[in-house]
Amino acid sequence: MTNNDIITALQKQFQDVSFDEEISKFLTINVLPENYLDVMKALREMGFDYLFSMTGMDWGAELGVTNHLENTKTGDMVVVKVKLADREHPELPTLENIWKTAHLHEREIFDLFGINFKGHSVMKRLLLSDDWEGYPMRKDWQDETKMIIR
């Protein structure tokens, strides 16, 4: 399946999906939060069976997630990006039911970026203690201890 096949297949189903082939070696698919789950399901059906990684992102104005998906049969990879404008209550649907690996990845993103994954089985902090305030991987996080940001 070439990049063009993926683009055509997704454009047929979804209207607000944009594509970028310049930013990295792989095809990047930008989706809206409301389409996110359906696009991911569609990609799973196209054979992208391996969720390589989920990266929490803070783009300044928006928070979001960058997903790297791989097709283990062909070795193809695509990147799916979803951006959330609401920094106060960022929410996304969980991917746990499509790829089991999303379980821990989403917990980590919740912990460090504060994105809430709706429908996740254990939406609790993973690395930090339960009484920690704030989300340290966000760009606007103040490091009062000066341990990392000097």
Binding site: Y50, S53, M57
Partner: protein
């Protein structure tokens, strides 16, 4: 005196919680698993991480690209060299630097030595976890030879920081080739003894066979990689699938070790055979190290072009992904280390369910966790 009678119909069993770790010999580091138990049977596993979380990803955002390499030693410290190489490769990929052939060969030999050292340590503690204390001593004796080789060339035994963007830190020590050539036949002669000592042992076999089964589909869905996934029949070796360094520039003949049983024994066998394959790889390279320098030209202050760069390598634990988002400045906008241990831990949550606590210890051993790799 009042007679106390015990009516057995009133007795009932109750699920309870048990903390395994963070200070538990079988977790090999500070990993805490919150177990829900019914008697001795594990009903649920909830990992609680962060005891060795240093926020390496956040630190990277405030460091230059050359400094990042030194942080990666401290993730999976048993694959330190391979981690360094991954970051160096990502930077070289972004800057489109072609490193000298000598660098590629040195990195690959060092990487395979690292893999053997890691698997040796795993074998030692694997035996110890199931009650065979002797293996630990044997494995450490042989692993020491690799540490000595590393020390001579890199100046460090564990956290080597040997790769730099565009090359390696120092040239090989004059003893290097001789020492490696002594080590190869030595390890070949002791691995059959390892098998006699542990692999063929009846008790060990019973602890391994059929325990901790994971299907191929589950391994993929859990994002498992490395020997854990290859024990379930998934072909996922990055050295074959996305060759880098000498795997890309040379025609190296080696097998990707795959077992399809999906149990403890399969994962065990994968690592045992992988050590021999690593020896084959080193043997094909050691006599043919070209002499075209150890450093490609790079700027003193490295700036990556705008864009996103992903480099995947095969560490001793699996598929390590270094994902760099650059906005063109001297430090990265975002760095993500997709560590193999993190996704493999996700698989353990399901694989461990329904087993006895003692079997969970054995399963964890065959998953070969290094906790700083999970926490980062």
């Amino acid at each position: 005196m009042e007679q106390v009678t015990l009516n057995t119909a009133d007795l009932k069993s109750q699920e309870y919680f048990l903390n395994m770790g963070p200070q538990h010999p079988a977790t090999h580091g500070v990993l805490r698993l919150i177990l829900t138990l019914d008697g001795e049977v594990v009903k649920n596993i909830e990992p609680d991480l962060g005891y060795i979380h240093r926020s390496i990803e956040k630190q990277c955002e405030y460091e230059g690209y050359k400094q990042i390499i030194h942080l990666t030693d401290r993730m999976d410290y048993l694959s330190a060299h391979i981690n360094n190489e991954a970051v160096a490769l990502a930077i070289e990929q972004a800057l489109e630097i072609e490193v000298p052939e000598r660098v590629k060969v040195i990195r690959t030999i060092m990487g395979e030595l690292t893999r053997i050292a890691s698997h040796l340590l795993w074998w030692g503690v694997m035996g110890m976890d199931v009650g065979a204390l002797t293996t630990f001593m044997y494995a450490f004796r042989d692993r020491e030879m690799i540490n000595d080789i590393m020390e001579e060339t890199c100046g460090a035994r564990l956290t080597m920081s040997y790769s730099t963007p565009g090359g390696v830190m120092f040239d090989l020590h004059p003893n290097f080739v001789k020492r490696v050539k002594e080590f190869i036949p030595h390890l070949r002669s002791v691995i059959p003894k390892y098998d006699e000592l542990l692999t063929g042992n009846v008790i060990f076999q019973k602890r391994m066979k059929g325990i901790g089964y994971m299907s191929r589909e589950d391994a993929i869905s859990h994002g498992a990689s490395g020997p854990v996934a290859r024990g379930s029949g998934v072909s996922c070796d990055r050295r074959k699938k996305g060759p880098y360094s000498a795997f890309a520039s040379r025609d190296i003949d080696f097998k990707e070790v795959i077992y399809t049983e999906g149990d403890n024994l399969a994962r065990y066998n994968v690592r045992m055979k992988e050590m021999l394959e690593s020896l084959n790889i080193i043997e094909q390279l050691i006599d043919d190290i070209p002499d075209d320098g150890i450093q490609a030209k790079t700027r003193a202050l490295i700036k990556l072009p705008k864009g996103e760069f992903l480099q995947r390598v095969e560490t001793a634990r699996g598929d390590l992904g270094v994902y760099i988002v650059s906005d063109g400045k001297k430090n990265p906008y975002r760095v993500k280390f997709r560590s193999p241990g993190f996704s493999n831990l996700n698989a353990l949550i399901e694989v461990g369910k329904g087993h006895l606590i003692a079997d969970l210890v054995a399963i964890m051993s065959t998953f070969d966790f290094v906790v700083p790799d999970i926490d980062r």
